[in-house]
């Protein structure tokens, strides 16, 4: 017997349901087609909101499970699948198996997960990771320039800035915070992410205290995580604006990348050096997230260069 838990709540118990025999086989087939989709069940727990599905195998002697093992893929008895940073097709299917079981009792949870999956699928994509770094955490020793904690497991995308600059909508719907969060939207109406908006309250004044609090509301962590981690930092142009940077991989080197407003994403100088920050003289803090962070905007301004 396979059970599935929709990992979405923080206070309430998560919805759980049992897969039918046919659904078990379907799940196994999907896993065998993409073994990298299996993740440790403990990953992504620091995130608020949708965190994927936890699958538990209750009968290790079942024909379905034994069949999976015989194929050579190591399928654990408990694992996570369908995290926000992964491919989403399997997540949609798993969600569909929930509807007949818990559709009436936990409709809110299903709707919330659907909404987040729809948003992730339709408009907001993460830049895929470097092909040399598979989905499971791999130790690495990156050496980003400048200060900031260098994580053992780094989600260093093999950055092709074309992911952000390749068409007009992508370039104009995403600002520095979208880029830093590795959360690209394709809809101008929800573009130009603002710190804190996703977390329920956008930042107030342009101070380190306000912006950092807003980042924490959006779910950013203060240190490295036990899974592939992106590292970002920000600075403030006093009284005027803020700007974010993110460590990315370019041609095998780890550099700081950024995206000033509607303008193209590009490599930047080390932001810990004031000479590379222009008017953004007040340095903020470093923040970390697993792969990407969901962020939200009010919409792109009417005119962008």
């Amino acid at each position: 017997m396979f059970s599935v838990e929709l990992d979405i709540f923080s206070g309430r118990p998560n919805p759980r349901w049992i897969l039918s025999e046919a659904e078990e086989k379907e799940l196994v087939n999907r896993i065998l087609a993409d073994p990298a989709s299996i993740l440790p069940d403990t990953l992504g727990q620091a995130r608020l909101g949708y965190r994927g599905f936890i699958v538990r195998v209750h009968d290790s002697q079942s024909a379905t499970y034994q069949g999976a093992l015989k194929s050579g893929v190591q399928v654990p008895l408990i694992f996570r699948i369908g995290t926000p940073a992964q491919a989403l097709e399997g997540a949609h299917w798993l969600l569909s198996t929930a509807e007949k079981s818990i559709g009436k009792t936990d409709a809110t949870a299903l709707e919330a997960a659907e909404a987040e999956l729809a948003r992730a699928e339709d408009s907001a994509l993460v830049q895929p990771p470097d092909p040399s770094q598979p989905g499971v955490p791999q130790p690495s020793t990156p050496q980003p320039r400048g200060a900031g904690q260098c994580c053992l497991y780094n989600y260093l995308t093999g950055t092709d800035y074309g992911f952000w600059n390749s068409n007009w909508t992508y370039q104009h719907a995403n600002n520095c915070y979208n880029f830093a969060a590795n959360y690209r939207v394709g809809d101008l109406n929800v573009g130009f992410a603002q710190p804190g908006l996703q977390g329920g309250q956008v930042f107030g004044s342009l101070t380190v205290a306000e912006l950092s609090a807003a980042c924490r509301r959006d779910g950013w962590s203060d240190g490295c995580l036990s899974e592939p981690t992106i590292m970002v930092c920000y600075a403030i142009w006093p009284g005027q604006d803020y700007h974010f940077w993110r460590v990315v991989a370019i041609s095998g080197s780890n550099v700081w990348g950024n995206k000033p407003g509607c303008n193209p994403a590009a490599t930047s100088g080390d932001p810990s050096n004031p000479a590379n920050r222009g008017n953004y003289t007040t340095f903020g803090e470093y923040f970390y997230a697993p792969g990407s962070r969901v962020v939200q905007g009010y919409g792109t301004p009417p005119i962008c260069r």
Binding site: P195, G239, N258, G278, P301
Partner: protein, 166 residues
């Protein structure tokens, strides 16, 4: 019978004439949309304009509507500038801070829209075609900075003024 036939023929001719008149006016309107150059000073009165100061990264850029006076002055300046085969002047690219002005002009009759991007004397106009201008005295930027004055704070104004005058 004969009068009836004549009457029907006349009606038919009238309908055809009306049809051709309709086609002709559509063609004329379509030709009017194919504006390939910046409207002359005489046409400026028919334009609405929105300007944006491209300067921020996280927050939205300041954006404001241009007055008729500013639009006329802008078009007048552009009329007098030399065109170039390519962009002359620095490309703001992805620098932090001041990256120039972007103006969107809309012809209120035809609905045609053109965009003019200006940065440190180099100008790109896009619409039905792309045209490059050079503005060595940066008059267009100074004009737009003045139009921005009521919409931005003094600190930002002073900063942009210094950038334009560098």
């Amino acid at each position: 019978m004969r009068e009836s036939l004549v009457g029907k023929s006349a009606l038919g001719l009238f309908i055809v004439a009306l049809f051709m008149l309709a086609i002709w006016s559509l063609v004329k309107k379509g030709a009017a949309r194919q504006v390939t150059t910046m409207p002359s000073v005489q046409g400026a009165a028919n334009l609405k304009g929105i300007a944006s100061l491209d300067v921020f990264s996280g927050r939205p850029n300041p954006t404001w509507e241009l007055s008729d006076t500013t639009i006329t002055a802008l078009v007048t300046e552009l009329d007098q500038l030399k065109t170039t085969p390519s962009l002359e002047g620095p490309d703001p690219d992805s620098r932090l801070g001041y990256r120039g002005f972007v103006v969107e002009l809309t012809d209120q009759t035809s609905g045609a829209t053109r965009q003019v991007a200006i940065y440190l004397g180099g100008i790109v106009e896009t619409g039905m075609q792309t045209t490059f201008y050079v503005d060595p005295d940066r008059k267009t930027e100074k004009l737009l900075l003045e139009s921005a004055h009521p919409h931005i704070d003094s600190s930002l104004y002073t900063y942009v003024e210094a950038e334009i005058n560098q």
